[in-house]
Symmetry: D2
Subunit: 408 residues, 4 copies
């Protein structure tokens, strides 16, 4: 009789290798699945290893283009910074990974999906909520959390099950990375008064080592999508990689953030998002030029909700679809070019131009300082300040009455 199948989100590390053994010991056929969202790891090796440690199937999916065009783009256009600081690196990849796992599970008739998140983080919530939303009846396995596996127990379990244990000293950090950036927690970083050590960073040079000459980059946007660098067109995932490299060289995009996790605690995180930082800055700058004031002033409410919704793992919800509909409509006139200076950790928008610029010297209405405008201003101020005048008159009348009452 054939066994039930489980699809496991596999990374190649000790945690998920042990999970293969554990799931197998529970009676499952394990299909390991590694989704490439731009970690820049050797995924051929990862794919091989899954088989070696007992998976019946091992799949690698290149999801970089989809990740860029659907997920990173939403974050970019929404200026999505969680708590004003974190550009949603891991949070952004979780729904896509969950979606791929569900697709594989359906294709192979698996009855369960497994992941290796701990019980103190956000990702367990994001994975499970996304999987539930796409496949409400599928079983979810998380032995690391549910079996309370400590590091020591994992090593023991690995030995018993012939899983190779990494020889070299483990990094003190817990890393997650993708096209949009790199996240780092644990170790010395747990003391928020301590500065992050040099080796906490990988994608960005320290400012002290950044070049003494700036680079200038012209980024072309069409409908809010970055489509070209220096006039040359790239698919979005390639474009992001190029900007990552250039901006990383200039030490741009380091973030040190004490943040509120979804599950009720504060944590201290180190992020690197060089490309994201440059693209987010440039996109906002172009919106400043092309977006009407009322839209520009309302959009931040949508942006904050998008950032929270992504952070909270609620990508596949009717709310998020509605927010995205707003966002997409808001981008129709975000066309043009921004010139960014990259230098010593700074991404400086020095110039911007657009056929949709609402700042236009040639529009007579605001380039001539003519008498008519100035009369309009007087009328405008009269009505604009009318509520203040009325309020003030009533307040003074009431104050005067009180004085009369006291005196009489």
């Amino acid at each position: 009789m054939s066994k039930e199948k489980v699809v496991l989100a596999y990374s190649g590390g000790l945690d998920t290798s042990v999970e293969i053994a554990w799931l197998k010991n529970q009676g499952y056929d394990v299909i390991a699945c590694c989704i490439d969202v731009g970690e820049e790891k050797d995924l051929v090796e990862v794919q091989k290893k899954a088989k070696q440690v007992g998976a019946v199937g091992s799949i690698v999916i290149d999801a970089q283009q989809e990740f860029a065009e659907e997920f990173c783009l939403t974050a970019l256009q929404a200026h999505a910074y969680y708590e004003g600081e974190y550009p949603l690196i891991s949070a952004l990849s979780r729904p896509l990974i969950a979606q791929k796992l569900v697709e594989v599970a359906k294709e192979y008739g698996a009855i369960a999906i497994a992941h290796g998140c701990t019980g103190k983080g956000n990702d367990q919530v994001r994975f499970e909520t996304a999987i539930h939303a796409l496949a409400p009846t599928i079983k979810i396995e998380d032995p690391i959390r549910d079996q309370h596996m400590s590091r020591e127990m994992e090593i023991e379990y690995a030995k018993e099950n012939n899983i190779p244990i990494p020889i070299k000293k483990e990094s003190p950090y817990s890393i997650d990375e993708n096209l949009w950036g790199r996240a780092n927690e644990c170790g010395i970083l747990e003391d928020p008064w301590a500065a992050a050590p040099a080796d906490a960073y990988e994608r960005t040079l320290p400012l002290e080592e950044a070049p003494d000459q700036p680079d200038y980059l012209e980024i072309t946007f069409e409908k809010g999508i970055p489509v070209a660098l220096e006039g040359e067109q790239y698919p979005l995932h390639e474009l992001i990689k190029k900007v990552n490299q250039l901006a990383g060289k200039h030490g741009i995009g380091r973030i040190d953030h004490v943040e509120n996790r979804l599950i009720g605690i504060k944590s201290r995180e180190i992020y690197e998002a060089p490309g994201a930082e440059v693209l987010l800055t440039a996109h906002k700058d172009l919106e400043d030029l092309t977006t009407t004031k009322d839209l520009a002033h309302f959009k931040p409410l949508i942006e904050q909700e998008i950032a929270n919704t992504i952070y909270n793992g609620l990508w596949f919800t009717p709310l998020f679809k509605s927010l995205q509909a707003f966002l997409k409509e808001s981008q129709k006139e975000v066309n043009g070019i921004v010139r960014v200076k990259l230098f010593k950790g700074n991404a400086i928008c020095e110039g911007r131009k657009s056929a949709n610029s609402l700042y236009d010297l040639n529009l007579a209405t605001y380039t001539d300082a003519d008498s008519f405008d100035q009369e309009a201003a007087a009328g405008f101020i009269k009505l604009y300040s009318l509520p203040s005048v009325v309020h003030s008159q009533v307040a003074q009348k009431n104050a005067a009455k009180k004085v009369d009452n006291l005196e009489s």
Copy 2:
């Protein structure tokens, strides 16, 4: 018979000197009034000049401490950036200046207040709305706008009225500055594609000239108020000046912003706010450590409204008082020290500590990775994702029905 009096907001420049003459020619006794909010000008000279060109009285008021403790502090605690970028420099001083003008007008029995704003800017609206709110029946004179005085007309009028005309070539820029920063518009800046030239800046060194060694600054906050630098206490206006100098040396706080003016047009502005940038960054960082998640997530709505309300000249309104009440209450636990690295245009919060830290390794609830927590997480996720599960089940049931209907 004595003449009616007018109080004029006097800067010492050509505009307001011509206004003294014009107001005098209308039959007023002019009381010139210069309010010091940290421009770092020679105000003794300004005071003298007003008399020379015809004012019957000339007053200088040092409002720096009040400006810092009431106005800059509100902007700091509210993380008040207009459109996410402009830290409200000029907008911040206008209500205080209006308040002082009204106080002087009441003291001297003046029937009017005069200012020298043009008809295309925000400041005319801010001044007049603030004056109306404080003195709803006082007359407001703005000859520059209402007489449509061009530069040439002003020079002509100055000659006729024995007002000295500045000999040296005028700056191409229109500058306004105070403790919180420096604003610059006009000239070459009107082309948003052109980079701002070097001479547009004055308070900050260019990054290329910034020192190759960082400075580190420990800033102490009590109830959200910065009270000490490197452990040494300063009155707030002195503290801001100190940070301005240090941060300016490192090229921190340059802003290049295409913004939506209150009166319906977009303009391009260059700002420098070195001290503000450092203090704003540090204050947010300390809030990240000390503020509960729900407050931290709601406060940005208050912050955006405060920024807009200040920008729009509505300081003296019941709405603003209510917003300030929220803000003040929110600061009670924002105590602690932030260590900032100042380097090459960057203000980097490297460490933060507080007796009110909600990130606390000693709290057993989140330093032990115990089984209990992890079970709690599973329960949490179950209820947290329940709406997604139910929604998904209903959607799938409906999709199945549709297929049935099509097939039958």
Copy 3:
């Protein structure tokens, strides 16, 4: 030589009849244009009268269906009440009327559009902003406001130009009405302490005269659109009329509102919106059943912005398009039937059902009070209250320290 043409928004009343004469005297050929949005007036008479008083052309456009399907529907789905009370009657028709005027102007090559709004109301702003948005260079004429025409001047001008003056005593009220409701201001209503007199209302019976037997109405919605009454399908504009009649008979939908006008003053308005009230109540009730919590909790921000944007005459803006995109997406699952009891001024939703109901007794997850759920609740509460626990522990530790310091 042919004359320049102007298109006039014509109502048949004295104001706009006088305008025909005035515009003619300015040298225009006047094309009168009456847009039917459901006022239930004799528009054949209005069309004839325009010619009689001097228009070269007179056009009546039946825009009821478009008004219902585009404008009323947006207001319905957005639960659009200005200031929580006014369901946007006049504000809703203005953009459609402006759009039709612009279309006629383009068709006939007119260089100007004229309307007859006073200088104290909202409608002048709404008309002109909408016309500017659709035809930024067309000239706008508003002689009533710009010539400061008083009632007496209008009568004088009418006599001189052979315009018939209404014989019967004028109503003391200023009325505007359409499919969505009826607005009434002026006269005795200007005293906000005085109750509105009986003759201020026309579409609704007084509660005292409403029937002693309720009516019950089952309203079917598809994607948030009311499509059937008692199971019988109607085009939306017919459906609204039917509900207006039935609800009006039961005295439903009277509104007495002191509101903040766009131009800075408060006014007191009497509205009747019987059909709107019933449909808005039923639509919200169905959303309660079919919409996920997170969407239901965020949508009010969108709703308030939609209401303000419509009230403020900003229908034809990029912001409004983005808000509508959100709204449309949010309606996809608002399918089902609501049973409303209409009785003595009350529209009471007594029952609701839907294939998209997220309240479903058959979903095991929340119909069984099983042990699993209850354990989940304990875990949920543990993490949910964790921030409160941590905050409280820190606060108590600090309080204890203060006591120690005082005692030592």
Copy 4:
């Protein structure tokens, strides 16, 4: 050796009587505590019964005045309706009850607090979060949830422990009530398509039995607090009771709501809040008259957050304190009298007056339709519509370019 003490929130019903026995059997000395927030029960009987079934102490606390002045008043001034419909009846009393339990626990040196909430409701979360916030280390006991006690088990347990079992047939409903209203769930109400039966209501007459003559009620507010009815002053809790009676007689305040519970499910609830409905309507009406537009337009964001925060059991949090600070400041000018007509389920504000009225016929600025105003309007519209004009011109220019490109 003395036993550890537990304080139990005691209602006199079977659930909490069984809990006394269970807690006793765990080795606790039980102190029963009944907090009167206006249920109108015989609390002397309840107090006696606790002793009879085994409590070592039994306390009744009259908290009605505190409940009115602190909790109901906040809800009133915040127009706090959860999801726009539910005026927060039970949610409002939970923090006060928790506070009293904690006070009693501290007074008697108890180590635990017990309540009798089920695992599917909101109240378990509200109680425990509030208790945690006030006493983070105290133990919480909830045997009903944690021992999975079904009705049958409770009866068995009662028999074994000599607890009298209610003889008369139990109500099919689960009721909670206080000064602010009455909440009802379960039974037939679980079918959202079924109308609530007559016996689901107790505080309000059915419309069919409501009197055929209206009552008129003048309610006086000072700083947003209702202080007098018909000119006669009452303490707030007495005033609420009076309005409850009068409004209940007219069938006002019935609510039938499908709502989203805190713990992830939808439930259908029947509420009665006659007094709350009248006071909330009147308070909003007075704010319309006395509050400036900008405050009136921003306050709903605060209101929605307050409603959610109370519903979610987060009264004792820094966020809530900040929201209350805003709210309190916003009420300073909400003074005046509202005349409400109570009739057939309707609370109709027919008139309102105030010394702080911002609608004032005597203010020349908007009672004279003078030429000046109307010119101001033209200027206002010019600047107000300027962004639309510019946007439209740019859009048309771009559209024309596209046509040129296609044609060339």
